[in-house]
């Protein structure tokens, strides 16, 4: 049997999406307060979940190639356009800190009843429209500094893939250890009952309780 199947039809797309949504919601990523607490150092779930997922999938892809289940480089590998990806990535980081979501998490936020996620999605459409409207002017930045097509870290550094995987596991382990220490120091991580208290509305200012100390009603 040879992977990948290159099947991007309706049912596999829907099924993979459902599993993706269940994992994001289970991680707590429907909550803008839990997501943004990554950047106040109170909750390292974004870092922990993302790095674990990347390492698991990267290891799986490497194993599949090693075992001959999949030809090398038979999956889509994005190409670096240095300026566009650095500036675009920074805008997404800034928008995440301001708006509370990224595109995928706004979909589970909406599915969990969050009106702010719906407004965030409307904002995303507006942002994409502005991009399309100004595309001629943006185009030089969009295409600037292209890297080699589908370049990977092992190619860039001249190292075998397992060495990259081991380095990623080491960085993740260090980040998890440091993150858990910071979470304890800043009263995190944020639990499900911390963000579901109160049925609607952001908390009014006179409710001076610390969010972490609130109990569900």
């Amino acid at each position: 049997m040879s992977f990948p199947f290159y099947d991007s039809g309706f049912w596999p797309a829907l099924a993979l999406g459902v599993l993706f949504g269940l994992a994001l919601e289970g991680a707590g990523f429907a909550s803008a307060r839990k997501l943004t607490a990554q950047f106040t150092l109170r909750d390292f779930s974004v870092f922990k979940v993302m790095f674990t997922a990347v390492i698991v999938a990267a290891t799986g892809l490497w194993l599949a190639e090693e075992l001959g289940l999949m030809a090398p480089r038979s999956v889509f590998i994005p190409t670096l356009y240095a300026w566009a990806i650095a500036v675009g990535g920074a805008l997404i980081g800034a928008g995440f800190a301001i708006g509370g979501y990224c595109p995928g998490t706004s979909a589970v936020g909406l599915a969990s009843g969050r009106w702010d996620a719906l407004v965030f999605i409307v904002g995303m459409i507006a942002g994409a429209a502005v991009f399309a409207w100004g595309f001629d002017a943006i185009s030089p930045l969009y295409w600037a500094a292209p890297g080699p097509k589908g370049q990977t870290l092992d190619q860039l550094l001249g190292l075998p893939v397992p060495a990259i995987l081991v380095a990623m596991i080491a960085v993740a382990a260090g980040g998890f250890w440091l993150g858990s220490r910071l979470e304890r120091r800043f009263g995190g991580p944020i639990g499900s009952s911390d963000v579901t208290c109160g049925s609607e509305g952001a908390q009014p200012p006179e409710t001076g309780t610390r969010p972490g100390s609130m109990r569900p009603t």
Binding site: V18, L19, A97, G123
Partner: protein, 171 residues
């Protein structure tokens, strides 16, 4: 219906499950998971409804319009699944809450204004970067693409810097 919500999954368990789903996505489709691609398609669909000529002539959106129904594609079905999965997850865990969620010092109206501005920056940034936290950060990095790691570094650096300015909105 507002019983005690079930706790979130342990982040390492959630990461393991997400990683396996991502791996499965590569095996089945040959590409990973995504999300922001739908915002381009929604913009093309809305544009061709409101401003059909300008949208068809637009250098960025024209391709989506020319190809026929802008919404008919893998990313639309996948994000539909994400919403469905989020709904199943939040309802069965009693974590579903119709509310505006924000920091304790932000009025709901201001929170929604922040959500719109943040969403606009993300919508613009995702078109510029050619992907978002899902398509580049997760899927790109899983293929060990240099593009994925450049994205993640820029994303986390800007997130921490911006939070220094908007901390009061969340704490």
């Amino acid at each position: 219906m507002h019983g005690q919500p079930r706790p979130y999954w342990n982040p390492l368990v959630a990461g393991l499950v997400l990683g396996l789903v991502l791996f499965a996505a590569f095996l089945v489709t040959g590409h990973g998971l995504g999300a922001s691609g739908l915002s381009a398609r929604l913009t093309a669909a809305l544009g061709s409804w409101i401003l059909p000529e300008a949208t068809a002539a637009n250098a960025y959106l024209g391709g989506y319009v020319k190809a026929g129904a802008p919404l008919a594609g893998w990313i639309t079905w996948e994000v539909l699944g994400v919403v469905l999965g989020g709904l199943i997850g939040s309802l069965t865990s009693r974590r579903f809450r119709p509310k505006v969620e924000g920091g304790p010092r932000l009025t709901p109206a201001r929170r929604l204004a922040y959500a719109f501005v943040g969403g606009a920056l993300v919508g613009f940034g995702a078109r510029l970067a050619r992907g978002c936290t899902s398509g580049l950060g997760l899927s790109g990095s899983a293929t060990l693409a240099v593009a994925g790691f450049v994205f993640l570094i820029a994303f986390f650096a800007a997130g921490f810097l911006t939070m220094r300015l908007v901390r009061g909105a969340w704490t």
